[in-house]
Each structure stands twice: as structure tokens, then as C-alpha cells.
Amino acid sequence: MSERLTRFFASRWGILLAGAVIGLLAPLLQRAGNPTNMGICVACFERDIAGALGLHRVATVQYIRPEIIAFVLGSLIAALLFREFKPRAGSAPIVRFLLGMFAMTGALVFLGCPWRALLRLAGGDLNGLVGTAGLVAGIALGVFFLKRGYSLGRSRPAPAPVGWIMPAIMLGLLLLLIFRPQFTKDGPIFFSTEGPGSKHAPILISLAVGLVIGFLAQRTRFCTMGAWRDVILMGDTHLFTGVGALFVVALITNLALGQFKLGFAAQPVAHSNHIWNFLGMALAGLAFLLAGGCPGRQLFLSGEGDGDAALFVLGMIFGAGFAHNWALTGVPDKLAEGVLTVGGPGPYGQAAVIIGLVFCIVLGFTMREKK
């Protein structure tokens, strides 16, 4: 039974199912209260968690997102059930932490991760096209490095705590979400009362959806970066099947739910600054490729016991704190009295993207397996 299930999940039908389920559930989460033109965004949600913990103090984006917690725990459950939970670590950890920070920086300049880029496009937000184009460009640059022998080196089997720390952290976050402690007067844990951080589906629904997705994604190795990478690197469309299914089903679901709004300008929680949408996602795409997985995949890997992926995730959360404290993020478009002000990153954000790209390119040329 377990062998047949494993073969199904490893097949094209399996990953198509995973993508379709995500494409159905994300717009439904939006309908149930998650932010408009978003549904699920791994980067934004990790940023919200950073805010809730007090790592940044932007009051409109502070909330411990249950989806992130459930992605890890759903993956953990799948890994334990199918005996794939293997604590392991040791592959250039500090590099992965920095890659996580820069990936988050690039994503926050675009105001989305690869998941959200697809979901935005499926909601009519054409900036998703520009973002995806940037993502693919970053991935293509990364493929050039892969072909030249880029590698972060080997990880090794590790003692149990290495694999259990991230699930334990997620359980801790769940407790903080439920019990809402306040550690200091006017201090964290913060819960936004307005803005995107205040827009969330009921906790149980978010958890249930996240667990289902975490389970399916772990089984099928769903990865929105690998999908593009494998096509470019070797013409393999296996992972892309999942991404395609996600997009098509999300598009249909959005149309059915009246959540489709076609255009570039003034989309919710988005900006139409094409250059920086492109470059921000190029940085994110390159960083995800150099780290071996999209932000969702890194969560699912950390649920399997991968301590290196766990560090990347922590780097993303830490980086989100930085990004907002140092004004690196993209500012949404503003439409007031018929006048459109195109948003985008300020000068610090632009500099951060350039620095990040340079950092990643240096890594691309210098990181090799140490024999």
C-alpha cells in the first residue's frame, strides 16, 4: 500500500494533484480571509511572523501565520509516516542563512515569493508575469553556475535534535499564536489590527489547509523554483507539471469566486514598478536556486529533518526583520483620486538587491564541493 502510494506521489499525476490542490486551496483561503491578491505567500507570511515576534515593527504586517507552521508539520507527518524523516545538516550553513536573507529581500522588493507570483497572475495581476520573468532569469543565471560545478557541499546524517528543532520551533509559534502572550508592555507578540497582517482565515482553516499542502508537497517534492530550473537545465518538465496545475486551477477558482482583476496598476498589496519587480525576483530566484529549493520547499525539507533548510528558513525570517527595519521593501502602488503613484523599493531596497545579486554571483563562482 505504502509502495503504491509512494509511486503515485512520485509520478506526474501525483505532483499534478499537489499543484491542483494548492491552486484550489490558496484562492479559497483568500475567500476565507487571507489577504487579497495573495491567498498564500511563503515570503510574506514569514515576514508577518517576523513582525509578530517583534523582529520588525511595521504594524500592518504582524501575524503568526498558521500556514507556515502547518507546512512544516504537514511535511513532518508525511516524512514520519513514509520513513523519510532524516536529521541531516552540514552543507555550508552560514551561506544558506545569508541566501535566505537575500532571497527574502528580493521577494519583499517584488512583494511576493514564486508561489505568490503564480497566484497573483492567476488573479489577473499581470505584475506576476514580470515577477515570474525575473524569477526565471535568476534561475537561468543559477543554472549557468550549476553547470560550471557550483555546489554547497555535502550534508551529513545528524543526531535527532538537528532534525527536530524546526518542528519544535513551529509548535512553539503555534502556542504563541493561540495564547497571545505579551512579553513587555506594548511589546510582542503582535497581532495586526489593520492592513494585510489583519487579514487572515480562521486559524483552524489555515492549519488544516497548511497540513494538507505540507503533506502533499513533501510527498511529491513540489518546488516552484525547481520547476523552472529543471526545464532550463535539462528539459525535464516533471516539477513544472505541478506549477502548471497550480496556475490553471487557481485561475479557474479565482474566476469562479470573482477574485479576478486584470491589470498592472494598483493591484492589492502589489506595485507595478517593472524593473524592480524583475530584479527583485531575479535575486530571489537565484538565491532559491543556489540554496536548492523555493521557500515552500525549504519549509517542507525542514519538516523532513533537514537542518540546512531550517537555517535558510530562519534566514528568511531574520531577513524580513531587516528588510522592514531598513526600508528595503517594495511599497505598493497608490491610487488616489484617479492619480496613480507607482510603488517599488526605495534607494536602500534597490541597493540591497544589487548587493544581493553580487553576493549570489560571487557564491556561484566560488562555491565548490571541497574534496
Partner: protein, 69 residues
């Protein structure tokens, strides 16, 4: 004489990249060592797409894939 590819501990897509390099070198059979189910399936898929025959053996916590023409 088998060509041995040690892809244990390498994160995706390294195992497939190393396997493809070995396939291009043309020395068969190729023995690929991986240590996760994910890598095992990725290498198996890449080899089958190239029209090769694949035999998988579990060795302790690791997997040995033998690729033949």
C-alpha cells in the same frame, strides 16, 4: 568496470547533474550512490528518460542505483 558516482549528501539537483555527466562520458554500467528517497527518484527518472535500465538496491540508509544501457 563500473563508473561510480557518489552523490550522497548532495542537495538537488547535484545528484542528477553528476549522473548526467557520467551518462555523457559513456562508461557503463554507472553506479550512483544517494542517501535520500528524493534523490533516488530524481536519478531514476533522469536515467529512464535517457532510455537506460535502472536497478535500485537499498544499502543500509542509502541507495545504490545501477544504470545500464
Amino acid at each position: 568496470m563500473a563508473k561510480v558516482v557518489d552523490a550522497r549528501g548532495l542537495s538537488c539537483p547535484q545528484p542528477v547533474i553528476l549522473t548526467r555527466q557520467a551518462m555523457e562520458e559513456g562508461q557503463f554500467p554507472i553506479e550512483v550512490w544517494v542517501d535520500t528517497v528524493t534523490s533516488r527518484e530524481n536519478v531514476r527518472r533522469a536515467a529512464e528518460r535517457a532510455g537506460l535500465k535502472v536497478q535500485v538496491e537499498a544499502v543500509g540508509d542509502e541507495f545504490k542505483l545501477t544504470l545500464m544501457r
